[in-house]
Amino acid sequence: MIWDYFISPFAEFAFMRRALAGAVILAISAGPVGVFLMFRRMSLAGDAMSHAILPGAAAGFLVSGLAIVPMTLGGFAAGLIVALLAGLVSRLTAQREDTSLAAFYLISLALGVLLVSLKGSNVDLMHVLFGTVLALNDDALILIGGVATVSLVGLALIWRPLFAECLDPTFLSSVSRAGQRVHLIFLALVVLNLVGGFQALGTLLAVGLMMLPAAAARFWVRSLEAVVGLAVLMGVASAYLGLLLSYHWSAASGPAIILVAGAIYLGSLVFGRRGLLFSRTRPLRHRIA
């Protein structure tokens, strides 16, 4: 019974195993990146960046057709350029980075839509650019695996300075010029995760698995390491439960995974140690006592 419900879909179908593998790897890879985005108050940057990669991916498609490598490289390049330009403007002028990022991602998005429509009205390009978790082939799995490897190693290398900068953004810039470099490497990792996620899983899934577990984990624990660990766990659980939901209740797979992550977030918001129910009542009781 329990076997039938929880295990047999994956035992019976290879596409379910592949979907689970892809979504779990993405959760492990994107979760920590999402946590840092949150601590750096860039929670919406992931979403903005997800639009920014479109022209690059479209250009890759126009040049060499449906091939995963050129589209990924193109998307990565476009996302990186937008991130760099946004950062540059915020350093050279008084404009804040969120504003310049908004400006550049909109330009990039418009360019992307234009490029897509150049190919005639071949709408399927949007499908091609943004895959579905149920159709992960070997190439896509290798891509997600590669992205996860680079992302985790990269994050480990810049963990300490990134952590320090989260606590006190002025600290690093006062002791060295490493802060900028760390910031850029971090942005590159964000783009990398998004690009890998899109190709294989679709926009919603890529950004969703990045931000929702991070936001949910924050309601339970305080330290960075704990938030990262919990976010990854929550992401993995969302992937697994979402696919089960999609299998048993005929729900579209990508949204199902994200809705599970969303439910975990809402649950954490209400019942988490630092959530609505407990963080407000506790100080009150203290005051009465």
Partner: protein, 318 residues
């Protein structure tokens, strides 16, 4: 824009602009004044464009709005389409909700000419709902399945409707239109008989095909083939895991050997299903659009032949 298109002088300017488009498509090779009497026809998508060309011959200049390999379901009209339409004598559409943008386009351009709905006199199908694969998905077409041209007998109906409409705008060439339509309809009927004869050899149980898009219901009914599609009738519905799982079980249980992708769809999902069931992909079918001129399905007749030649052997026929 609306005002400009509605004004008389605007229309003459626009007519001149339309010509180069038609030339670009390779239909009207000379827009010289000597040929000024030809009928300007705008067809909504590539298959109708071909049919109009077959019937109209040298008397028509055809402009196609949704070109080869493009998806008519979700097409967004461009200003150039409005320009073409404003200069047209005849607008040929499939109808049955296939061109969801058509009414808006006609309204926006102020096109006052005849709109020919070629599917007007065919027996329509309700949307296929029995394929368990798409019971919960919404679809774009309302209640009827618009892909009527996937039955050659309906192709004949289309051709007749086009001939009649062309006659109404160009009486002088009516004899030619009728003759062309008769000759072309004879070809369609011959191919229809040929396909039916070839399929007669395939046992009923083997006549099952998996495709990426529910566009072959008319084909299925006409020739006795069951089509199963993992995605719903609309090209942009996202499938659920249970849809895909059910389809895989069905392929294994029924021994389906015919697995196809369609020219406009993302083949990755079908590829995945093929890998999982050990069925080799049969090739690319053309459903809602023709191929480019140098492709395997540049005309309606070629498209049908191409599809039949792929489908029948995959089901074990010849």
């Amino acid at each position: 824009m609306k005002n400009l298109l509605a004004s008389r002088s605007g229309q003459t300017i626009l007519r001149r602009l339309v010509r180069p488009t038609a030339i670009g498509l390779g239909f009207a090779l000379a827009a010289s004044p000597a040929l000024a009497a030809e009928v300007n026809v705008v067809a909504s998508f590539s298959i109708l464009g071909d049919l109009v060309q077959q019937v109209g011959g040298e008397h028509v200049a055809v402009t196609v709005i949704v070109g080869p390999n493009a998806d008519t379901h979700v097409y967004e009209p461009k200003p150039a389409d409005a320009v073409s339409l404003a200069g047209a004598d005849l607008f040929v559409v499939n109808g049955l909700g296939f061109e969801g943008w058509m009414e808006r386009l006609v309204e926006a351009t102020g096109y006052a000419g005849q709109v020919v709905v070629v599917s007007d006199s065919i027996v329509t199908h309700a949307m296929a709902e029995e394929g368990a694969a798409h019971e919960e998905e919404g679809h774009d077409h309302g209640e009827t399945d618009p892909h009527a041209w996937q039955d050659l007998q309906n192709g004949v109906v289309y051709v007749r409707a086009i001939a009649e409409a062309l006659c109404s705008v160009d009486r002088g060439s009516c004899a030619d239109f009728t003759a062309n339509a008769d000759a072309y309809a004879a070809k369609l009927v011959a191919l229809d008989a040929d396909i039916k004869a070839r399929l007669a050899d395939v046992p009923e149980a083997k006549r099952k095909v998996i495709t990426t898009h529910d566009a072959f219901d008319y084909f299925g009914t006409a020739y006795g083939v069951t089509f199963l599609a993992p995605e719903g009738i609309s090209t942009d519905a996202e499938p659920s895991a249970s849809d895909v799982a059910r389809l895989i079980r069905q392929i294994k249980a029924d021994g389906v050997t015919a697995l196809f992708v369609e020219n406009m769809s993302d083949g990755r999902l079908v590829q995945q299903i093929g890998d999982e069931t050990g069925v080799t992909l049969g090739g690319e079918l053309f459903a809602d659009a023709l191929s480019e001129a140098d492709g395997p399905a540049a005309t309606y007749l070629d498209m049908f032949k191409h599809n039949a030649d792929l489908l029948i052997p995959a089901m074990g026929g010849k």
